[in-house]
Every structure is written in structure tokens, then in C-alpha cells.
């Protein structure tokens, strides 16, 4: 059915796939900004933005009103405003780096998507084929390597802005990102120790991790989040810090740093920082779900294969690769969006830590904890898998 697609030259195919993924990530990042405002409002007992509406949508009897109340059109209004307002370039900045910074923010944020598989299907032999832009074997390393490049944007922006608060903000950002990078990496190691059992092919890819969480049996079907709760917890906390979300929002703490490194930015350049932050969140949530949340498996102890088997009893097309692919992507996206909701939920629950507290938690609490965690699992895995 889709043979024509595979006859297109590989380069064009990859470009098409890349564009398709970007076409999904961008609107989600936009929708996230709206969701953030709505969730903020709901938690504060407000209805949130609910006024903007396009007239011909308002004419649809029920749905139009619903979409208006949901604030869907505020996304477009915000986006339109951001695109068309004057993109100012302050006189006192270093022009080259000032313009470069938002681009440097955006590139790693979108590049990491490449390494993250977001679904899977079964080929005719029943083998699981992960769906992703570049299904290479070093997924985790690639994500760590590229996503930490994002800190350069903060440093560049703060430095190029040539003013006090952006500079302080960028110093904080770099210190915070470096501090939590360590615990994050150490927290992930037990997962890959477990996955790379002796005698198997070595991998740092996400697909194998998810496969490990979809095995039969009590231990096999268990998600790593249950198997290694401390790892999951450290990774989650570090993820909050890496994405500069509350309660680790010291980088952007408006009360003491105005707007941090993007104080001098406005319009589209500011919007790029904004979208980059949400893209980081989306990719980060995706990685968390792949490592600790079972990836595209619908429930703990219920793997994708089992689910497809079950659906096959009453859906004739359940085994079609297309259906399985869409189903797995839907499950995975659902989990990622749930994670993003959690991010927002936490943001409107917790006050921000003071900067010294952030450093203390990072170096004196999380790092020793993650080392102890690594040692414990290293010994336990060595004993189990010997």
C-alpha cells in the first residue's frame, strides 16, 4: 500500500519525516503555552483565557463555543502577536551573539527529537521496529550530548545582552545545568546496566529499553519506574532542573532577575526561547517515559504486543502495521502529554527554591544519592545477571 513512499530517495524521505515531526512538535509547544495558562488559571480557580474567537468558528453551534472557552484561539493570537510585533535589537548588545543565542536555543531542542523513538510496529516476522527519525544505537548519549548544548544559548544570550540581570541569569543557568547533568546521567546508568545484560548486544538506544519493559512475566513487564524508583525520582528532579521549570526556576526568577537571560529579548527571538523550553520539556518527558514509564506500552505488565493481540479479537485491522504504529504513537504521546501536565501541575504548586538551595540539593543531596543508587543497582544487577 505504501510502496510508493519507499521508492522516494532516502534523503527526501528523511527530510519529509523530519518536517512531519517538527510539524507536530511546534504546535504541541504552542498548545503547551496555552495549556500552561489554562492550568495555571484552573488551579487558581479562574477560567483562564476564553475570549478570543474567529467569527466563522463562533457560528458553529456547540463546538465553537467550546473551543472559545478552551482558549484555543488565544494561541493563534499570541503567536500572531509574537510574529508581527517589532523585533527590537537594543543598541547596547553584541548583535551577532544576541541574534545567535535564540537560534542556538532552538537547534539542540529540535535536534534531540531525532534520537527519541516515539512509536513502534511489528513487521511480518513479528519483530518490533521502533519508529523514530534516526533509530541509531546511541540514543541516550545523543540526547545527553545535544540537549546540554542548550546551555550555550543561555550563556550567549546573557553575555550578549550586555546588562546585569541577563548576565547573572545566564551564570545561574550554566551552573544549574552542569550541577544536575551529573545526577541525571548517573541516575540513568542502572537502566542501561540492566538492559545491557551479559551476552546481549550492547546498546544505548531507547528501543531496547522499552523492549525490556515489555517482556512477559512479573519482573519483565515491570516498568523501570517501579523497578528503580530512586533512579526515576532523581531523573525527574534533574529533568525539572534541566528544563528550568519550577521549583528550579531560579534562572528565570522574575522577582530577583527580571527576565533572566531573555530580559532584553522580545517578539520572535523571545518566542524561540519559549518554544525551545517547551521542546526541551517534550523531549525530556519523552525520554523519561521511554526509560521509566514503559514507552509505548499502554500499561504496566500489558505490552503493546498484548494490547494488539487483545484488540485483534474484535478489530480485524488491529494487526496492520499502520494501525499498530498509530496506536503506539498515540499511547506514547498520551504519556508525554501527561508528563507535561505534571510539569505544569508542579509549577503551580511549589514555590521556587532559593539559588543556594538549588545548588545544595544538586550537589549535596542528589549527587550522593545517585552515586549510592548506582552502586546499589550495580551490585544487585551483577548478582542477578551473573
Amino acid at each position: 500500500m505504501f510502496d510508493f513512499y519507499f521508492e522516494i530517495p532516502l534523503v527526501i524521505r528523511l527530510i519529509l519525516q523530519g518536517l512531519a515531526v517538527i510539524m507536530v512538535i511546534f504546535p504541541i509547544a504552542g498548545a503547551c503555552s496555552m495549556a500552561e495558562r489554562k492550568i495555571a488559571a484552573w488551579i487558581q480557580d479562574r477560567p483562564g483565557p476564553n475570549r478570543a474567537v474567529v467569527p466563522w468558528v463562533a457560528w458553529i453551534p456547540f463546538i465553537g463555543k467550546f473551543l472559545q472557552r478552551l482558549g484555543v484561539f488565544h494561541v493563534m493570537a499570541d503567536g500572531g502577536k509574537m510574529l508581527f510585533k517589532e523585533d527590537s535589537l537594543p543598541g547596547h548588545v553584541n548583535k551577532f551573539y544576541f541574534v545567535l543565542a535564540p537560534i542556538v536555543a532552538m537547534i539542540p531542542a529540535l535536534t534531540t527529537v531525532v534520537a527519541v523513538p516515539f512509536g513502534a510496529y511489528f513487521d511480518t516476522a513479528g519483530k518490533l521496529i521502533p519508529l523514530g527519525l534516526a533509530p541509531f544505537d546511541i540514543g541516550m548519549l545523543a540526547v545527553f550530548a545535544v540537549s546540554s548544548l542548550g546551555v550555550y544559548s543561555a550563556i550567549l544570550a546573557g553575555w550578549a545582552s550586555n546588562s546585569k540581570y541577563p548576565f547573572l541569569g545566564s551564570v545561574r543557568a550554566s551552573a544549574q545545568l552542569i550541577s544536575y547533568e551529573l545526577s541525571m546521567t548517573l541516575a540513568v546508568l542502572p537502566v542501561f546496566l540492566w538492559v545491557n545484560a551479559p551476552g546481549t548486544e550492547g546498546t544505548m538506544g531507547f528501543a531496547r529499553v522499552v523492549e525490556f519493559q515489555s517482556q512477559p512475566g512479573f519482573l519483565g513487564g515491570m516498568w523501570f519506574g517501579f523497578l528503580m524508583p530512586i533512579s526515576a525520582f532523581i531523573f525527574l528532579v534533574a529533568l525539572f532542573a534541566e528544563t528550568n521549570r519550577q521549583p528550579f526556576d531560579t534562572v528565570e526568577s522574575e522577582s530577583d532577575l527580571v527576565g533572566s537571560f531573555h530580559t532584553e529579548y522580545g517578539a520572535f527571538k523571545w518566542g524561540l526561547f519559549f518554544v525551545a523550553e517547551y521542546s526541551h520539556m517534550i523531549v525530556g518527558s519523552g525520554v523519561f517515559m521511554l526509560l521509566f514509564g514503559g514507552g509505548w506500552n499502554p500499561l504496566p505488565w500489558v505490552s503493546l504486543a498484548t494490547a494488539v493481540e487483545f484488540l485483534g479479537t474484535f478489530l480485524p485491522f488491529a494487526h496492520a502495521p499502520l494501525f499498530v504504529g498509530i496506536l503506539s504513537i498515540a499511547i506514547f504521546m498520551g504519556k508525554v502529554l501527561a508528563m507535561i501536565f505534571f510539569f505544569m501541575w508542579v509549577r503551580w504548586t511549589l514555590p521556587r527554591f532559593r539559588y543556594d538551595q538549588v545548588m545544595k540539593i544538586g550537589w549535596q543531596k542528589l549527587l550522593p544519592l545517585s552515586i549510592a543508587n548506582l552502586l546499589f543497582y550495580a551490585i544487585a544487577i551483577a548478582l542477578i545477571q551473573k
Binding site: 492550568i39 484552573w42 480557580d45 479562574r46 477560567p47 501541575w345 503551580w348 504548586t349
Partner: protein
Amino acid sequence: MAVITVERKPLTFLERTYLPQIAGGLKTTFKHLIAPKKTLEYPEQRPAIPVGYRGVPTLVKDPNGREKCVSCQLCEFVCPPKAIRITPGEIPADQADRAHVEKGPQAFDIDMLRCIYCGLCQEVCPEEAIFLQNQFSMSGYTRAEMVNHKDRLYELGGTLPDAHHKWDKKKAAEEHGNTH
């Protein structure tokens, strides 16, 4: 004064991890997330105006539909920001229903850009003709628009119940031959 030393208990291990508190906080915020919203969506929903509210000052008519104001200008004199401007006038002889009314304003302007809603005009008015009623939002595109003229003031004020019926009593007294 006795000094009471309050012992501050050291935090337990769980408290130092922040986690139970964070879970509690998340629970609270989630309750609010699904709770009914408290916002009054203003242009569609209007607040209930409490009794004694001091809104835009208006002129009222008596139950017979006559102007109550006799243009004594007390409100004009008392008005702290000098927002009121009255041009006094006589009652035209051809209006039979107003025959016993002493006087009436020819023009009555309240500049709402000056008005401070203090209510002194209402307090000072001997005829109970000016009232600060419930309207709380005044807006306009020009300065001229923000000046309420006489007809606008009566339109905003409407008719309020009257306990005195001053002019009816005056008319009845006159018909009994008693001019005062």
C-alpha cells in the same frame, strides 16, 4: 513579661526530603484544578450592588414625572472637585402640571472626569433630587462625552419613590386659600 521558650522540633527525615509536603501540595492544587471557578465573568455577569453604593450621580423625578431639582445650587457649591455646573431657570407658565413647582434647572451638567463620587451632593440636596445610584462604569471616547447633561442625568436617574409629595401639599394648601 514571662518568656516562654517554644521548643522547635527538628524536622523528621521525611520532612527534610520535602516529599510528603509536595504530595500534599499537589493534592491541594488538584482539588482546585477541578473545583468550580470563582471568577465573575464581568461584562456578561454583573456584581450584586450592595445597598448604599455610591455610583454615578443622577437626577431623579418625583412620582408625577416632574423634575425634583429646584436649582438651588447647593450641590454645585458643596461639590469638592467642582464637577457640577447648574444654570437656574424659571418654570414655563404653560406647563400646568409643574405649576406649583418653584423653580427648575435650565441646564445641569456633571463632569464625570472631575466627579470623585463622594456623595456630598446627595447629602446636601434639600429636595432629594440627586442620588448616587448603582451605575459604576462610565466610559467615553472624548471629554465632551464624559459630561452628563440634564437629560442624560434624568435618564440615568429615573423615578424614585417619594415620601413627601412637597408640590402636591403646596398645591392643596393653595387651593384651601393658604398660600404658605
